[in-house]
Structures are given as structure tokens and as C-alpha cells.
């Protein structure tokens, strides 16, 4: 396949802080994401204060609580896969990876179904300030989950082709994916409270 070579010519020099470059880069990127979601959440909250009457009563809390739980389980699956890598246990790693993938996809499925029902009931982006905020913010989050699922899909395929193993380098690659995934989970924990519960 075409993407094999690149990896090995990166010089392995010690970094100034002792931190891996990619991990540092990912944390910096997450700082950016914090601001991005803060802006969007700020937009949502502003719409909410402008029209407190367009409440969230149309939303289905039990199903979404289940969906939140799905995302929490998936986060746990990621750390389990990570610890499997640390143990050098490829089989267990793969199992937890697939579990994460399925859970992520389940989350998206439930969210799409929620959208379908809401739109069927004529709750649209255009129908209220709450609708504007709800679809935009949850949609952005859903897009992040989608990106994460695709990313993990690539890793799983590479694992099946033995191009992703439990060595130290791939350990770092998976840890970086994990940081992204947990962050998306964290965002959802916040969104669940702000949009659905309050």
C-alpha cells in the first residue's frame, strides 16, 4: 500500500520538555476546541436567555440519558483499549476498539433518530430560537463524533492489516485519538446538562 514509508525517517530526538510532539500538539488543539465550543455554547445560551419560553420540553430526556451513557461507556472502552496496548495484548486491544467504534456509531444513530422525530414534529432550525441553538450545537458535536468514528475506523482497519500494533509509537497514536474522543465525551456531558436537563 502507498502510505508505508513515511514513518521511519522522522528523527527520534529527545524533545526539550520530554513530551511527545504529537501529544503536545493534540492538547493545544483541544484548547482551540474548548474555545470553539464555548463560542457555540455561548450562542446557545444567548438564544436561551432571549427566549426562555422556547423550552426544551420537546426533548426526550430518558433516551438522551441513555445516549450519554453510551458515550461514557465508549470512553471507558478507549481507556481499556489503551491499557491493553500497554499490556501488549493485541486481541484485547482490538476488541475494545471495535466496542468503541460500535458505541460511537450507536450514539450517532440515536442522535439522527432524535433529529428525525423532532423534524417530524415540525421543530426545525427555523421554528424557534431554541431550535436554532439546539440543532447547531448538537449538530457540531455530532460532527465531532462522526470524525472520531471515522478516525477509529482507520485505526481498526490498520490493526487488521497489522499496520497498527502495540508498539510504543502506535501507543502514542492511540493515546492521541483517545484524548480527542474523551474531549468529545466531555463536551457532550456539558451539553447534556445545559441543553437537556436545565
Amino acid at each position: 500500500m502507498s502510505q508505508t514509508v513515511i514513518v521511519h525517517d522522522e528523527p527520534r530526538v529527545a524533545t526539550t520538555t520530554g513530551i511527545d510532539n504529537r501529544k503536545l500538539g493534540m492538547w493545544l488543539y483541544l484548547a482551540t476546541e474548548v474555545m470553539l465550543f464555548s463560542a457555540l455554547i455561548g450562542g446557545f445560551l444567548t438564544m436561551r436567555t432571549r427566549a426562555p419560553a422556547d423550552a426544551n420540553h420537546v426533548l426526550n430526556i430518558p433516551i438522551t440519558a441513555f445516549n450519554t451513557f453510551v458515550l461514557i461507556v465508549s470512553s471507558t472502552a478507549v481507556v481499556m483499549a489503551l491499557s491493553a496496548i500497554e499490556d501488549g495484548d493485541r486481541k484485547r486491544m482490538l476488541r475494545w476498539m471495535v466496542a468503541t467504534f460500535v458505541l460511537g456509531a450507536t450514539f450517532l444513530g440515536i442522535q439522527i433518530n432524535e433529529y428525525r422525530i423532532l423534524i417530524g414534529e415540525k421543530h426545525l432550525t427555523t421554528s424557534s430560537l431554541f431550535g436554532s441553538g439546539f440543532f447547531t450545537v448538537t449538530g457540531f458535536h455530532g460532527f465531532h463524533v462522526f470524525v472520531g468514528v471515522c478516525w477509529l475506523g482507520v485505526i481498526i482497519v490498520q490493526t487488521l492489516r497489522n499496520r497498527f500494533t502495540t508498539n510504543e509509537r502506535d501507543h502514542m497514536r492511540f493515546e492521541i485519538f483517545g484524548l480527542y474522543w474523551h474531549f468529545v465525551d466531555v463536551v457532550w456531558i456539558v451539553l447534556f446538562t445545559i441543553i437537556y436537563l436545565i
Partner: protein, 553 residues
């Protein structure tokens, strides 16, 4: 790698390239930070010329009241795109380009931390720039570079393209910032503690932090604007909250002025000691003031909204922070003055632009204090006073610093010197043209001329005529530079490794530097400002115990 590391070369990695031997390599997806740096600078300068041309059309329209050179709608599109291009496709990317070229060498690294991401950032910026130009052709943004809704929700389809382009450019800039931060934090030469870094590196840390934390707020606001325009949401419509755009927009766009000036501060902090033959005065204060600006710059944004419908009480804290933010900037200016004072000044073109920078930027800084004071700001907000202020900061400041940097590093990048005579003609035409253009605008604004108008009351005719004539001189002044930069590539005097006798690491390398920069990893035992008598060179620094920097520097 078997390639010799002492000569310029190019490596092929699939469809990617690393390094350049001919001009063709500059049109490839190239992962060499030096190639990317040049790509950025050339792209940005091209957009500078495009944006400048727009400015000339604007000034030609305003040469007399009631002029009908361009239609009002085209006029609105022109100044909107002029602003957007100059900020997002000229000043920000040209600094990114210079930092790309210089920072890895400054800190003693062989490349940026993520070479592929680096190349991706450049091509993303170019894509954004192209979409921006396309948006102009399709009937573009006619609501100013600040694109206040609800107006920006009713303008043509080009406004959506404009927003998409800005999101792309924004993410390009975020990736570049991550790259620079990781490079500076993680890839410094042995012995280079934070306090031994060149000040340009400090300023890029501060700049990158602002980009990292500010740009996503703009991206979020643009995303909401696109949702409003495309998906029918109501965030910024009259039923929603148009003021929310202003908050989100300025939350990024005020810090963005520091994105556009801090790298300039960094460049000036390099050129002043070199051409004064003196150590920089107050290294730590300059470094810390950059960081102070980066953080406090986020707490002043609402001073752009003093005359808006915002909660009147909220204006007060923002006035105080806006006043105080002038202090760290003042510290820098006084430190540069103190560096000059008692030096042995060498008036190269780079030094002339450096002095021009200090002189012009101070004027912009002083008018900034006027704008921080709410009662004055209420009167001059959205007038030509603001136009004058922002050009003194961004042209008299940033652009002068950019030219100081270009004249300074051109020999390193190309291996040849720029012609000094043409350089001085460039400088004087720029300085004089600039002041003729923008000085009268202060008075125009105070007397009652609003900005963003296609025509104006007859009593402002004289001031506008002077400004327009100055703008033509200013534009003509750019031509010597273009000629000089092109002709010197072949005819310029060979530069040698260190034409300015500078002490930063890039001057220890050949000009241009070899493909992986340092044949052997450099080691550093002091900051790079050890100019002056008594010669401290080769003498170890005083046996004062350097406290180790937390985090394992």
C-alpha cells in the same frame, strides 16, 4: 539520509517534496519549513498588491465628493475585501511565513514539529484566499470586514463564500500556531532555556497563543452566520441577537490586532540590537510584556462596542483594561529607545524601517488611548479617526515591521543582498506617502466624516484630496521594492553567511541554509544579544545559578 546536509537539495517522498533546488519545487506540496516560509511570504505579498490595488480604487473614488468612479455597491465590496485581504491574507500569513522560515532556525531545530501539517496549513490558506477572490467575483461581502449582521445576512451569495474562506484561513492559522508552539516549546537547541530564546520566538509564542484561543471564537461566529444564511437559524437576526456577533467577532478580532503586531514587535526586537550594536535593553520585560499582551488582549474586546446597544455598565471594566493594555506596549517602546540610546547606529534599509516602525506605531498607540476613553470613542467610533488609527497601527506598525524583517532576512533566504539605494527610495516614499494619506484622516474623523461611505459632504473635500494623493505616492513607493526584490535575486551582491554581524543562530548557517538546517546540533550558552563592549564573548556568564525552568526545560 545520504544527501549532503551542507548543500541545498530536494528530497522526494511520494508526491511530496522536501527542500527546493529550482523554482518548480515551490509549487509543490513541500514539507521543508524554509520552502513553506517562502511560499507564505510570496503568496501574502501577492495579496498585499491585490489589496493595495483595491485601496487605490477606494482612494480614487474618494478624491472628490460626489465622485462616480465606482457604484456604491461595488465600493462597499471593495473596502470589505480590502480589509479582509490585508488582515487575513497579507499581515497574518506574511508573519506566519517569516516565522516559518526563521523560528526553527532561531531555536536550533531542523524543521518545524509537524512538517506535513505545516505544508497543509499553507495550501489551506491559499485555498481560502482563492475562495475569497471568487466570492468577490460572485458579488461578495458588502458589509465591511467586520460583517455585522443583520446586514451581512442580506448581502449576496458571496458573503457565504467569504465566511467559508475565513473559516479555512482560520484553521490554517490555528494549525500553524500549534506547529510553532510545539516547535518552540519542544525543539530548542541544547542550552537554550526560555530566557535565552531570541525575542522573535517569544513574540511568536504570544502570537500563537492568541491565534489558538481567539480564532476558534471567530470560526464559531462564522459558523453561526453561515447557519443563519443557509439553514435559516436566527442567531443574529432581529429576532435573535445581532449584538452577539459583535461580541464573538471582537473577542477574536481585537486579539487579532495583537496577532498582527506582536510578530512585528519580535522582528523589531531583533533588528534594533543588531543595527545599534548593543544588547537589547530589558530582555525579560520585553518577553513578559508580550505574554501580558497575549492574555490581557482577550479582556478588552468590547471597547469596539462602546456606542453599540450593549449594557452601559459593562463598558467601564472594558475601558479600564483597554487603558492598561497600553502599558506593556509602552514598555517595549521605551526598551527599544533605550537600546538605541548610546548605540552605534547603522542606517541600513532594515534599520530605517525599524525606526519608521517605532515612530509611526507610537502615533497609532497614542490615538488608541483616545479610543479607549469612552466619551471620546463615542464621538469618533466608526469615523475616519478610526481609519487613521488602525492604519497607523497596521501599516505604520505591522507593514513597516514586515519590511524591516524582509530587508533583514532577504540575504539569508536568497543568499543575495537587496540593493540599498532602491531600499532607501522605497522607505522614504512609503513613509512620506503613508503620512500624507493617513494623517489628515484624524482630522476628518474628528470633524464628522463617517467611515465606509462612498461619498461625503463637500467640507471634507480638501482632506480627502490630500489623502488620495498620498495614497498614490504610497502605492508608487511599493514598486521600487518589487523591482529590487526581483532584480536582486540575480544581480544582488552575494550576501555571505552573516552580512549584518548578527548573533542569532540563522546567521551561523550558509545563505540560504542547507536542507536540514544544522549539520550538527547547535549548543547555546547565552541569549543572542551579546553585542557590545566590553566583549562578553567566550567568557562564560557570571556564575549566577540559573534556576531550572519548571517542566524540565
Amino acid at each position: 539520509m545520504t544527501t549532503s546536509t551542507t548543500s541545498v537539495a530536494v528530497e522526494r517522498r511520494g508526491w511530496m517534496r522536501h527542500g527546493a533546488t529550482s523554482w518548480r519545487d515551490y509549487f509543490t506540496f513541500n514539507t521543508d519549513h524554509k520552502v513553506i516560509g517562502v511560499q507564505y511570504v510570496v503568496m501574502a505579498f501577492t495579496f498585499f498588491l491585490i489589496g493595495g490595488l483595491m485601496a487605490e480604487v477606494i482612494r480614487a473614488q474618494l478624491i472628490k465628493p460626489g465622485n462616480t468612479l465606482v457604484s456604491p455597491n461595488l465600493y462597499n465590496e471593495l473596502f470589505s475585501l480590502h480589509g479582509t485581504i490585508m488582515i487575513f491574507m497579507w499581515v497574518i500569513p506574511v508573519f506566519t511565513g517569516l516565522a516559518n522560515y526563521i523560528i526553527p532556525v532561531h531555536v536550533g531545530a531542523n524543521d518545524m514539529a509537524f512538517p506535513k501539517l505545516n505544508a497543509f496549513s499553507f495550501w489551506l490558506a491559499l485555498l481560502g484566499g482563492i475562495i475569497m477572490m471568487v466570492s468577490f467575483v460572485t458579488g461578495g461581502n458588502a458589509s465591511g470586514w467586520s460583517a455585522y449582521p443583520p446586514l451581512s445576512e442580506q448581502t449576496g451569495i458571496g458573503q457565504t463564500l467569504w465566511a467559508v474562506a475565513l473559516i479555512l484561513i482560520g484553521f490554517s492559522s490555528i494549525f500553524a500556531a500549534i506547529n510553532l508552539l510545539v516547535t518552540i516549546m519542544n525543539m530548542r537547541a541544547r542550552g537554550m532555556t526560555l530566557m535565552r530564546m531570541p525575542l522573535f520566538a517569544w513574540s511568536m509564542i504570544a502570537t500563537s497563543i492568541i491565534i489558538l484561543l481567539g480564532t476558534p471564537a471567530l470560526a464559531g461566529a462564522l459558523a453561526l452566520l453561515i447557519m443563519d444564511r443557509v439553514a435559516g437559524t436566527q442567531f443574529f437576526k432581529a429576532t435573535g441577537d445581532p449584538l452577539m456577533w459583535q461580541n464573538l467577532f471582537w473577542f477574536y478580532s481585537h486579539p487579532a490586532v495583537y496577532i498582527m503586531i506582536l510578530p512585528g514587535f519580535g522582528i523589531i526586537s531583533e533588528t534594533v540590537p543588531v543595527f545599534s550594536r548593543k544588547p537589547i535593553f530589558g530582555y525579560k520585560m520585553i518577553a513578559f510584556s508580550s505574554m501580558a499582551i497575549a492574555i490581557f488582549g482577550f479582556l478588552v474586546w468590547a471597547h469596539h462596542m462602546f456606542s453599540s446597544g450593549m449594557n452601559p455598565l459593562l463598558r467601564i471594566p472594558f475601558m479600564i483594561t483597554s487603558m492598561i493594555i497600553a502599558v506593556p506596549t509602552g514598555v517595549k517602546i521605551f526598551s527599544w529607545l533605550a537600546t538605541l540610546w548610546g548605540g552605534h547606529l547603522r542606517f541600513t534599509t532594515s534599520m530605517l524601517f525599524t525606526l519608521g516602525f517605532i515612530s509611526m506605531f507610537v502615533i497609532g498607540g497614542i490615538s488608541g488611548i483616545f479610543l479607549a476613553s469612552i466619551p471620546i470613542d463615542i464621538h469618533v467610533n466608526d469615523t475616519y479617526f478610526v481609519v487613521a488609527h488602525l492604519h497607523y497601527v497596521l501599516f505604520g506598525g505591522s507593514v513597516m515591521a514586515i519590511f524591516a524583517g524582509l530587508y533583514f532576512w532577504y540575504p539569508k533566504i536568497t543568499g543575495r543582498m537587496l540593493n540599498e539605494t532602491w531600499g532607501k527610495i522605497h522607505f522614504w516614499m512609503t513613509l512620506i506617502g503613508f503620512n500624507i494619506t493617513f494623517l489628515p484622516m484624524h482630522a476628518l474623523g474628528l470633524e464628522g466624516m463617517p467611515r465606509r461611505v462612498v461619498t461625503y459632504a463637500p467640507e471634507f473635500a480638501l482632506g480627502n484630496l490630500i489623502a488620495s494623493l498620498g495614497a498614490f505616492l504610497l502605492a508608487a513607493g511599493t514598486l521600487p521594492f518589487v523591482y529590487n526584490a526581483v532584480i536582486s535575486l540575480v544581480r544582488g551582491k552575494v550576501a555571505g553567511d552573516n552580512p549584518w554581524q548578527s548573533l542569532t543562530l540563522e546567521w551561523t548557517l550558509s545563505s540560504p541554509p542547507p536542507i536540514h538546517n544544522f549539520p550538527e546540533p547547535p549548543t547555546v550558552d547565552s541569549d543572542p544579544y551579546g553585542y557590545g563592549k566590553p566583549l562578553v564573548r567566550r567568557v562564560p556568564p557570571a556564575p549566577r545559578q540559573e534556576a531550572p525552568v519548571p517542566g524540565g526545560e
